[in-house]
Symmetry: C2
Amino acid sequence: MMFLGEGPLKAPRIVSTGVKGFMAAATSCGLKPAEDKDLAVIAARRPVAAAGVFTTNRLAAAPVLLCRQRLLEGEGLLRAVVINSGCANAATGSAGMAAAEKVCEAAAGLLGCTPREVAPCSTGVIGVVLDDEKVVGALPRLLRALSPQGLEEAAKAIMTTDAFPKMAEARAGAHVVVGIAKGAGMIEPHMATMLAFLLTDAPLTPSELKAMLTEAVEASFNRISVDGQTSTNDTVIAMASGETEAPVDRQGLAKGFNRVCQELAAMIVADGEGAGHLVGVEVDGAASEAEARAFAYAIARSALVKTAIAGGDPNWGRIVSAMGAAAGRRGLEFNPERVDVWIGGHKVVEAGLGLGPEAEERAAEAMKAPRYAIRVELGIGNGRWWVLTSDLTHEYVSINADYRS
Amino acid sequence: MMFLGEGPLKAPRIVSTGVKGFMAAATSCGLKPAEDKDLAVIAARRPVAAAGVFTTNRLAAAPVLLCRQRLLEGEGLLRAVVINSGCANAATGSAGMAAAEKVCEAAAGLLGCTPREVAPCSTGVIGVVLDDEKVVGALPRLLRALSPQGLEEAAKAIMTTDAFPKMAEARAGAHVVVGIAKGAGMIEPHMATMLAFLLTDAPLTPSELKAMLTEAVEASFNRISVDGQTSTNDTVIAMASGETEAPVDRQGLAKGFNRVCQELAAMIVADGEGAGHLVGVEVDGAASEAEARAFAYAIARSALVKTAIAGGDPNWGRIVSAMGAAAGRRGLEFNPERVDVWIGGHKVVEAGLGLGPEAEERAAEAMKAPRYAIRVELGIGNGRWWVLTSDLTHEYVSINADYRS
């Protein structure tokens, strides 16, 4: 089900609750200019069940390659995640791998675990080898600072272009799921890297955790990262401490993972530079789910649609044209004469034709809300998909939104 | 061969030469606000050989459907083209078709030909039926104004978001090819509709003309219109009056068509809002031409790359990451360790690794030029493709270009 989030678009969301069995901390190690925090650690008391989902970018960064080894090929146990901003350590070859490994070795030595139980994550500039000496030098004081309440500081330290830190929480019976994330917007320069970390105190096996995480990512982060815009470093890692030993409400916990990921995903879209609206694009009636997905992304990616959203202009022609272009290019089943379109719950197109100024006025009123849906019914089959999008910058928009084309 | 154009990026290009056998004129009929010219006609003295290439958008506008009838199913003879701005007459169903047909009938009546010898073209707002009364009312004075020197006025009347009119000319022996175009930029809101009209005085059959036009479009306009961004109204029409009866230098004339289309295409890219650079993206060594094309578009479309171009930042990591993302998504053959990259002729990446600050400084110097190339060698096969791109707006860039990710 589509989830648009709630409340003001750009408010920092800090959930103070810690998660039993986890501690976190953040510090500055000099990768970012000035004294900006750029290094964080999340650690369990012992190696715990862990799972990960990673970028499909073929230029995967060194830390992503190491995380894959640990979580996809290894036993799925992690003691800690060490995350730096200021340097992506991507396109850095064997020097980059060596640097990431040194960080893991140093952290493992201090924590008393094996390097394979430490997952490295990086975000920042591509093409620069991680300065492992800076990171390793800061690790002792970082680990001394570990605290059950440290997640908020970690959420801040992993920010790059983010305007606000991102954190969400859900409960399922006796257990809790807490997530932090970084990433901003749907506009490519802001997609940069998306990192998210999910922690639960429920006792789960690595494969149970992997199943819940994969389903949650599919219904959240994979609804915002536009085709082909994956960064070299995108990473989502989940860890389960198992320190609250009550019976697990598996369905409730899976819902909790979904909810936390969806809240974080909505925050990432809302954090687009100049974004004033968070819009769900729902396509129904396509020939297949894959075709619905292609149409939904065609609308959500269209800068013409995104400027119309910013301008509060119910310019349905741009919505239908974006689908027509995708259909022509990719050979999707599409018949303009069967298309219905709703904006903010108001029908503006029926059977491919506009319903006139009154319908558009109602839609324009609905477009003043910070969160609303654009819904399309294609009248072909049963394929459905939804994605989240936002509008473009005001500066950009001031040039483009006044011209209807 | 890649063509980047020459001279200042944004200068109007008006070629005063007319083309024997053709006249043109422009006027204001009230589709655009104020007294802006919004209606143009290009007419031959008699029905002449004509050919067209049209949008692949499945929401093709009424005028496009009529042009296709005339040029793809008909005999390939046209007496005139009637072009309006201010209204795309797209997504307008049967009412839109009727309006476009009325315009053709009225023009045919005044010119003394059949309506099937008049091609209609429209650009502007989608979803509004063309006000045919306004157009028909203006046709008598428009046709009275027809002049062999009228093309310049026509080039101005078809502008929408364009910052300058676009015109180009090439000679082949005794014959000439002149083209006018409208369209601006690679950023979607500016792609709007692309229209181009090519005129020659050479005697050609419709099928000869079609072959030359198709080849020229493939090497020009199809190198800038990014996948899926086709508008509902994109149209390129060529007409050959045959009024200069010297022997035709077919090879020279084909080159002339290519050159005129490439100059117009380069002008369209250069007309992107805030665009300060026109950049050719050349990909070589891909597994196939199709894969080279996919990689070239992945680079050319990347807002991260386009902001780096604007900032004069030889941020090769963004170039390689854009390819890695496309490779991961589309299953293209890609090995980061074999990738070489040149910016403005200076090699900055070899075997996937950066060549250091000195190489980047040389590239940064080259990036100050208004026109330059980004070249990538993938080291896989023999697939080659090139496309043209430009940078993004300064406003947009001021937010994004300073952060390297």
